[in-house]
Symmetry: C2
Subunit: 412 residues, 2 copies
C-alpha cells in the first residue's frame, strides 16, 4: 500500500471490504487512469460494491476523480477517470546505459514528473554509476520525491536479463559476450547491482534489459501507448528491441527475447560482435551505416550530408531495407499491431522510415499489410528509465497477484 | 461448475468458502493434476484454508488424490497429486481440417480418453462436416460421453481466427486468401460454424486456428508438455505454426501470429499462395519438396526413395536448411525454450531434423545455441482437436477470471 488505509474494525466482512479496496488501488496503480466501467471490468466487483468502495476511497483522499482533458472529449458527457492521488507517491526508474545514466520519475497517477541524464566515460565503476544515479534521482522534482512511498525501483541494464524477479541473491548471471561492460562484478553482475541499489535506496530493485524496458515504455507512455501487441526496434550503436505481448513485456524462455539485431541478413556477411555473422546489427547499426557511407565521422555529419549527397541517402536506404525485411519476418511470426522504431538512427526520419516501410510492405503477408502501423519512438533516451518504472507499476512480481481476499475462516 | 456443489448455508462466510472451493476446482480444471503445494502457489490461499477445502472436496468425491506413477517417483515420499474426479466430465475438441474431421475427448483430470478421424472430399458442405463431427464424437468412449457436463466445445479451423471469444454473432470474418474453403458461409464463416455447432451440441463453442491449436496441444500433452515458451512449426501441404508464450496461446494483434510459412526466404522466389513471393512455404511444403526432387508423386514415395537416392536426401536437406534459418530468426526475436516440428514432412526424421538443426545452430545468436531444444511433434493429426480441448480447459474466456468471491456486502 502506498499510504495508510482508513481503518475498519477487524471483523471478516471489514477485512473482505479492505481486500476490495486494495484491489481497486492496485488496479489504478498498474493501469493509471481508469473509468468506473474499466475498473468494473478489471476487478469483477459488482457495480454496487465498486461504487461504494470508490466513494470511500475518494472521500479518504486516496483516489481522485477527474474529467478527461477537453481534447479527449467526444460527443456526450465526458467520462470521469479515477487515479491514485498524484501526491501519494512516486516511482523511480534508472537506466544504466553504456555511457550514461538516465533517471525518470512518474507519480502514482502515471504522470511523468521528471527525467534527467548524465553521460559518463565507458567502463565507469559501478559504485560511481550508482553515485551518479543517486545524485540524478535527488535532482528530480526539486528533491521533493517521496522515496519512502516507493514499492520498488526499476532498473535497466545493458545485456540479457533472464529473470526480473530477483531469484537467489547469489545466482550467477551470464555476461553477454558482446557486452563485457555490463557487469559490476565478475560473478553476478545483476545481483551485485541490485544489492548495491537496494542498500543505497532501501527498497526492492527490479532489473531488466534496458532496450526491452524502452519497448514497455513506448507501449505505456510513448508511440504505442495503450497498444497491446507492440514490436520495438532500436537502431543505435547496437541494434536490439523488445516485444510487448498482450500488454506485458515478453522475455522468452531465457530472457533472450527481442534480439532482432542478431537475426541473420547476410549469411556470408561481416562477423558480428555476438559471435555470429551477417546479423542485422552488422548492416543497420550507426557504425555500419557510417562505414557504408564512408564520408562522415559521426551520425550528425551523415545526417547533415543527407540533403546534398545521394550517397548518404543510399547508405540509409540500404540499412532501412534490411530492417524492413527483418521486421516483416518477425511480424509474420508474431503479428504485432504496432512497430515502434527508435534509437539514434531514427533521427534520419523519412529517408529511413520510407525504406523500412517499403521493404516491410513487400515482405509482409498480404493479409497483414494494412494491419501493422510503423511509428517513430517518442520517448528518446529516457525510454529505458521510463520502462523501468512501468515494470514497477504494472509488472512488479510484488504486485503479480492481487492479494487474496482476507480469509475469515482462519479466525473461526 | 462441472457438478453440483455440496450445499452450505447461505451466509457470507459460507459463500466466501464456496468461492474458495470454486477457485480450487477451477485451478484443477485448467492445470490438470496439481500437488497441494502447487495449488497453494496458484490460489494464494493459506495452508490451513486450502487443506480444509481440499479435504471437503475429496470427501464429496469432486476431487481425487493419487500418488504419481512409479516411473515418476524420485527419492523420498512421492508427492500426492490432486485431480478432478475423472468421471465428472469430458471436454471435446473438433478439428475441421481441409480434408478430414478429427475429434478428441479428454476428461476433467486431463487424461486423453479417445480420438477419431475421418477423411472427406475437399469442399464438403459445412452441414455435412458437422454431421461427420457429431458422428465421430458419438463414437468416442463407446458413446458414454457426458456432453451435458461440458462447459464448451473447442473447435479448430483452417485459416486465421482473430478473436477466440465469440464477439457479436454477425461479426464478419475475413477469409484467408489462400484458404477459400474455410468458410461455411460467405459472410461470417466462423460465426456460422459456431452457431451451427452450438445448435447441434447445445454448449458454447470456442474457435481458433487449428495449427495454432496444435501448438497449444504440443505444449499441453505433447512434445513440449509443461514448457512455457514453445514454437511449433508444421511442415505439411501448407507451412504454418503457433506460439505458446508464458504458457498461453499467442494470437497477435489481428489473430495473425504463427505465420512462419509466409516469412520470405527467397526475395525473387516463387509466387506463394498468400500472394507474396519466395515464402518458406514455397520451398519447404510437401509439394515444394516433391517438386525439388522431381522423381516421386507423393511423400511416401519420396521417403521410400531416401535410402537409395541421394537426390531425395538433397531435396529434404535444402528444405530443412531453409526451415532452420527461419526458425533461428524467430528464435532470436522471441526466445522460445522448445521448438516442436510436426506435419507430414517431419516423417522424414533425421534427414530433415539434422539439416534443420544445422541451419538453426548456425544462425542462432551464439548465447542462445544450447538453450533451444528441437523436438519432433508427438500428437500427430489429433493435435488440432486436442489443442481445441486445451483451449476449453485452460484458455476459455468463460474461465478467464476466477470468480470474484461472493460479496457479502451486497446483502448488508
Amino acid at each position: 500500500m502506498l499510504w495508510s488505509m482508513p481503518q475498519h474494525h477487524d471483523g471478516p466482512l471489514a477485512r473482505l471490504r479492505r481486500g476490495h479496496e486494495e484491489l481497486v488501488l492496485d488496479l489504478l496503480r498498474r493501469h493509471g487512469p481508469l473509468s468506473r466501467a474499466e475498473l468494473g471490468g478489471h476487478s469483477g466487483l459488482s457495480r454496487t460494491t465498486l461504487y461504494d468502495i470508490i466513494a470511500a476511497l475518494v472521500d479518504s483522499g486516496a483516489v481522485v476523480a477527474s474529467a478527461p482533458a477537453p481534447a479527449e472529449r467526444r460527443r456526450g458527457r465526458p467520462v470521469e477517470k479515477l487515479t491514485l492521488r498524484p501526491e501519494a507517491g512516486q516511482a523511480i526508474g534508472i537506466d544504466f546505459a553504456r555511457r550514461a545514466v538516465h533517471v525518470a520519475a512518474v507519480n502514482v497517477a502515471h504522470e511523468v514528473i521528471g527525467s534527467a541524464s548524465e553521460p559518463h566515460a565507458p567502463g565507469l565503476p559501478w559504485e560511481e554509476r550508482v553515485d551518479l544515479a543517486e545524485r540524478l534521482v535527488g535532482s528530480l522534482a526539486g528533491g521533493s520525491l517521496r522515496l519512502g512511498a516507493l514499492s520498488a525501483i526499476g532498473v535497466g541494464v545493458v545485456g540479457p536479463v533472464e529473470d526480473v524477479a530477483a531469484g537467489p541473491p547469489d545466482a550467477p548471471v551470464e555476461a553477454h559476450p558482446e557486452q563485457p561492460d555490463t557487469a559490476p562484478g565478475p560473478q553476478s553482475p545483476r545481483t551485485d547491482l541490485a544489492l548495491l541499489l537496494r542498500k543505497r535506496f532501501g527498497v526492492p530493485v527490479l532489473v531488466d534489459n534496458n532496450t526491452r524496458l524502452a519497448a514497455l515504455a513506448e507501449a505505456t507512455w510513448g508511440a504505442a501507448a495503450g497498444d497491446q501487441d507492440v514490436l520495438y526496434l532500436r537502431l543505435s550503436h547496437g541494434v536490439g528491441g523488445g516485444l510487448v505481448v498482450g500488454g506485458s513485456l515478453h522475455r522468452g524462455a531465457h530472457g533472450l527475447s527481442g534480439e532482432f539485431g542478431h537475426i541473420t541478413v547476410e549469411p556470408d556477411g561481416r562477423r558480428c560482435s555476438c559471435g555470429g555473422r551477417g546479423c542485422l546489427e552488422t548492416v543497420a547499426s550507426v557504425g555500419a551505416v557510417l562505414d557504408a557511407y564512408g564520408r562522415a565521422d559521426d551520425l550528425p555529419a551523415l545526417l547533415a550530408a543527407l540533403p546534398a549527397d545521394p550517397a548518404a541517402r543510399r547508405a540509409l536506404d540500404a540499412a532501412g531495407s534490411r530492417v524492413g525485411t527483418v521486421l516483416a519476418a518477425v511480424c509474420n511470426a508474431i503479428g504485432p499491431g504496432v512497430i515502434v522504431l527508435g534509437g539514434a538512427l531514427a533521427a534520419a526520419g523519412d529517408v529511413l522510415f520510407e525504406s523500412v516501410e517499403r521493404a516491410l510492405t513487400a515482405d509482409l503477408m498480404p493479409i497483414s499489410r494494412h494491419r501493422v502501423d510503423l511509428r517513430p519512438a517518442t520517448l528518446g533516451e529516457s525510454g529505458g528509465a521510463l520502462g523501468a518504472i512501468a515494470l514497477v507499476l504494472h509488472e512488479s512480481p510484488l504486485l503479480a497477484r492481487y492479494p487474496a481476499p482476507p480469509d475469515p475462516l482462519e479466525d473461526t
